[in-house]
Assembly symmetry: C2
Homo-oligomer: 406 residues x 2
């Protein structure tokens, strides 16, 4: 592929060269249009041959001399990016070795890097979660541990999706991101990756997220995916285990802090998701007709209510109709910390009477992913039954506030 810059009647045009033949030249300009010119009226200012987009080939590269085989599935995000100093934009790294190379990881492990996709994580769709889960499944044939490098923005959503989809796991799946790309002086990439690879070499049979413990280097923590949440826009320790302690910590070795599921004999993937689920954020000006519009055609909706799980009285009938039609309304709280309890106030009891289900202490985004998973694999009949069950540690038995363990 060639990037070209041309002059045509005093105007500069930049774009990708599509065709150059029969006295004509066609360019896909940066504004998206295909422009065709008479070749003789055009002067070519520059012509740069660029590599094909990475994601077009299924690319696997191997590094390292160690015995234990770990696969890194790259999906994009800051962790797989570099800063383009000309435009300031963040672009994909060309050499995956930047993510971990030059560390002792290469002598400890045999690392396979697989480029699954290259996306900022805000662009990930539920279909991408399924694609990724299948790629992970493929890769388990080669490796005894899986690392998924991923943008931090929606890492809790994607990792929770995989946590639910893998009914059984024969090895850990460790998500890892970074808040600053690897070519920047204060990047957290290599440390996070070192932690992630070491977590992926344990006997864990769960999906986790490896990120900095604090703002300074030296300690990487592992959050259980289905309890994790990105709680800061920019800090290295942006991720938290909500209302509970993290699973493990890596400094020079891995130390576990709580009970965890051990890896089983084999993997079992349930890879259906019902996409007809959405999240509604309650706010005082929300009116019934807005809610009706939002839930039209959905099979389930996660409400982020106030406090213990409330919404305004005049909205309750809308959800009552929704559930009467065989759909599911799930209550979570915009407080983020603490549990929903709809048995304390009259509002809660009216919601229960309207068929609204409590998500208890589940993280709102996790309840959302769980609803998609449950509907997708178990259907409406089993929904309430399965949704209320603690499938992957997403429901806590006991809430542990942050100040106790930080």
């Amino acid at each position: 592929m060639q990037n070209v810059e041309i002059i045509y009647k005093n105007a500069k045009v930049r774009g990708i060269l599509i065709n150059e033949a029969n006295g004509l030249i066609t360019i896909k300009a940066d504004n998206g249009y295909n422009l065709t010119f008479d070749r003789s009226e055009v002067e070519i200012l520059s012509r740069v041959t660029i590599e094909e987009k990475k994601e077009k080939k299924t690319e696997v590269e191997s590094f390292g001399t160690g015995e234990k085989s770990i696969s890194i599935l790259a999906t994009g995000g800051t962790i797989a990016s570099r800063v383009d100093y000309e435009t300031g934009a963040v672009k994909p790294v060309s050499d995956p070795r930047l993510l971990f190379g030059g560390t002792e990881l290469e002598s400890k492990f045999n690392i396979r890097v697989v480029n699954v996709m290259n996306q900022l994580s805000e662009n990930m769709k539920p279909a991408d979660w399924i694609h990724l889960a299948r790629k992970v499944m493929d890769e388990t044939k080669h490796s005894s541990g899986i690392v998924v490098s991923h943008g931090t923005d929606t890492m809790s959503y994607t990792s929770s999706a995989l946590a639910f989809m893998f009914e059984r796991l024969a090895q850990p799946i460790i998500f890892v991101g970074s808040q600053r790309s690897s070519d920047r002086p204060s990047s957290d990439t290599k440390e996070n990756m070192e932690g992630a690879i070491n977590f992926a070499a344990t006997d864990l049979g769960e999906v986790g997220i490896a990120m900095h413990k604090g703002i300074s280097d030296g300690s990487i923590v592992l959050h259980r995916a289905v309890r994790s949440r990105k709680m800061h826009t920019s800090r290295r320790d942006a991720f938290e285990s909500i209302d509970t302690v993290h699973l493990a910590e890596y400094t020079s070795s891995v130390r576990f802090f709580s009970d965890y599921r051990k890896a089983e004999e084999e993997n079992l993937l349930l890879d259906h998701l019902d996409e007809k689920v959405s999240i509604i954020y309650f706010h005082p000006g929300l009116v019934a007709s807005d809610v009706e519009n939002m839930i039209e055609g959905k099979h389930a909706v996660v409400i982020m209510g106030t406090g213990l799980g409330h919404i305004a009285k005049d909205l309750i009938p809308v959800f009552k109709n929704f559930t009467k039609d065989g759909n599911f309304a799930i209550m979570t709280s915009q407080c983020i910390y603490g549990s929903v309890d709809m048995n304390v106030y009259s509002t809660g009891r009216e919601l229960i009477a309207a068929g609204v289900i409590s998500a208890g202490d589940m993280v709102p985004e996790v309840a959302y992913v769980k609803a998609m998973f449950t509907l997708g694999n178990y259907g409406r009949e089993e929904f309430i039954n399965v949704f209320n069950r603690n499938l992957r540690g997403e429901i806590l038995n006991r809430l542990i506030p942050r100040e106790v363990y930080i």
Copy 2:
């Protein structure tokens, strides 16, 4: 009004007596139905006369022998409630003295209690904020400090609304709530109220929220309304000042921690709000047509995006059309902590190009209230200009993480 319990053909029915005449008796049963019986076929087991609902009279009661006059405007919520031990329901207190009586407050202050409304705060509408603001304005003729007792669920929304609506304040307005009603053994009501009244007796010219500092008694903190957020469903210290230190603390006296606006000569109320504003919570399965439905007819929308303020690329054109029509799209982050910055990634830059405005470090719910206020009082022409200005301390100059001051 009379509560009755009757027997009709071996079945017990409880409810409110609606009518008893011409040999018939009509009861609004607890299940909501009106039932009419032949009086002769019914045996009345009990008959209890109950008071009319408080909110029907405009009620002012005064207590205390102190000189300084403080008004408590009661709006409802747990703080103004008691548990009905028979049904488990939470009902309004009949005696407002329960909220502070028996403490030394009565000898220090002259306290006027005004019943403005009696609502669980999840039912508060923007129209109620305006009604309340006007009642506060009336009450400033009588008192040198205002306390508003309010449900905790939406206390940050309501208090932020009043903070914006009072362009100038001649006395403090202190919101106070409680997590457990005053008749329960471990209630936080009296301590919170004591703190609130003492904050209301200072020279502050701002709107704040007074709640417990920690889970044990002894210290009440004052949050600036426009930086506050309810961050826990049930703890006494549910409220936090997001990314900054609280304004003040009360133990046996008030101590201020940060700069604050002093009370001015007079009050100035700008009491318009544009209700055509809503909040959208981005999530990976959100599709363009959903967003179109949600913003139809709105004048502004607050997006709770991921990370530094992102949404999926395919949704950006929807907001571009929305802003092109003269409406406003405002970006906040579902991370809650940290600031939005749309200059780091390509997604952010595309959002800016689509006309989406950054809320910077504003709390999402506060940005929502500010948008309603700005549109209501300044209109579309002035919107961006006013919205970007730091009106009431809702924008921070410097973020102070919680672990620094806790």
